[in-house]
């Protein structure tokens, strides 16, 4: 490429603009990034880590990712209606399982790419119970936001943790359910709740809400496994497989840890 660009440079001294355009065109034609981007649908809670992972993947020579974020159920509905994604990174296991059994995702492609953790977060100036979830019945806990347990894996885990510590029924009139874990955090950030049980990954956000948080013991709830599948309609299934292999690898594990997730581990 550099030879051609140089000869173009010599031949047309007068038109610098045209030379730059030609060099740019050659760059676009020969660069590996010109390969078709991999279209990835991702659950909103994993958007920030995926953007970081996309950058690392690109540096390793992989194709660019074209990322669409949304609620897992909504993305599932779009995929069953033929939305043209290559890879689906869900927030749970149920929807990927269903896509495989319906034949919309490739058999054998399902894998756990991340395991989530919960944190208990308090508004600035409001105490974080020193004894963890067991101390949530204090009057300083006016409202506790969680994700809707019927819709969101983090909501289900929050309910399990509250049940395991005997708080669930006692707190029922103080619990506010967001549509997803992001909305639970939004309620905390806007001061509409005093506490929230949300994904640990939010503690790594640059623009995270103020206030103290503490980790919820993982033994209080079933693991929050987020599964990925390759969609049957993908025209780039090989590239998608390579990307999932990258997600299982050590470089991805570092990014996952930096965003407060546990690395994939074996899929059950």
């Amino acid at each position: 490429m550099s030879d051609q660009a140089a000869s173009a440079l010599g031949a047309r001294r007068g038109s610098a603009l045209r030379q730059w355009l030609l060099a740019g065109l050659l760059l676009v034609i020969v660069s590996p990034a010109a390969a078709a981007p991999l279209k990835v649908a991702v659950a909103s809670n994993f958007l920030a880590p995926l953007e970081a992972l996309a950058e690392v993947y690109r540096q390793q020579g992989g194709p660019a990712l074209q990322i669409s974020a949304g609620a897992t159920g909504q993305l599932y509905a779009q995929i069953t209606q033929g939305a043209p994604y290559d890879v689906f990174l869900a927030a749970d296991q149920a929807r990927p399982q269903r896509l495989v059994s319906e034949g919309t995702a490739l058999t054998g492609s399902r894998m756990t790419y991340a395991r989530g953790r919960l944190v208990l977060w308090a508004r600035p100036g409001i105490e974080l119970p020193a004894d963890g979830l067991a101390g949530l019945q204090r009057p300083s806990v006016t409202r506790l936001a969680i994700a809707n347990p019927a819709l969101a894996p983090y909501g289900r885990a929050a309910r399990e943790a509250l049940q395991a510590t005997g708080q669930w029924s006692a707190l029922s009139d103080r619990v506010i359910q967001g549509q997803n874990v992001g909305q639970a955090l939004q309620y905390l950030a806007t001061g509409n709740v005093s506490h929230a049980l949300v994904a640990a990954s939010y503690t790594r956000l640059e623009n995270r809400p103020a206030g103290d948080y503490q980790r919820v013991a993982g033994r209080l709830h079933a693991p929050i496994r987020q599964d990925a599948v390759i969609l049957a309609g993908s025209a780039s299934a090989d590239q998608a497989r390579a990307f999932l292999a990258f997600l299982r690898g050590p470089a991805a594990a570092d990014v996952l840890a930096a965003f407060g997730y546990r690395a994939a581990g074996p899929s059950p």
Partner: protein, 223 residues
Amino acid sequence: MNLTPVWISLQLASVTVAVLLVLGTPLAWWLAMGRSRWRVAVDAVVALPLVLPPTVLGFYMLILLAPQGPVGGPWLAVTGETLTFSFAGLVITSVLYSLPFVVQPLRDAFRGIGPRPLETAAMLGANRLDAFLTVACPLAGRGFVTAIVLGFAHTLGEFGAILMVGGSLPGETRTVAIAIYEHVETLDYAAAHALSAGLLVFSFVALLAIYTLNGRRRPGIGL
């Protein structure tokens, strides 16, 4: 299937329309008859919910209605209740959201009356309030019907703003549109279909009623 969300939505739409008739009728009258230089600006403000995404309204409401917010704070001090995640908070949000759907038909109906009936009423000795209640309001009858039906139907269909400030509390803030969304999310398509079809049929009948009513006499009043 749980029909509580339908009941919540019907209550919300009824209360919202009642509040809007009380607040919106004088506003529409002023917009139709007033000569203030602020009138055009107020007209534009009233129309804002038509063009803004509901997420803008929901976002501002989440901040205004919060316990430390400029509206939610005083409300909490007076009533002891928070406005977000409450039926009262949904009413405030819906009143803003459906404002143009009530005020604009009323404004156009008042404008359509023209000055003559009111001048006649004044000549016959009616004071201004009397003329408004006994002459203008009956003449604007179809405008009122349009405003009530549109305001009601539009509030039933409200989703984005309520999603942001409601918290989906069963029996309190889980409206029919939120219930549909959650049924879709949990793959309960049968329940989603039933509620969606109900809303679709109701909205069609409501619009059909308005267009039938407005088509029978000269057009130009209402929509």
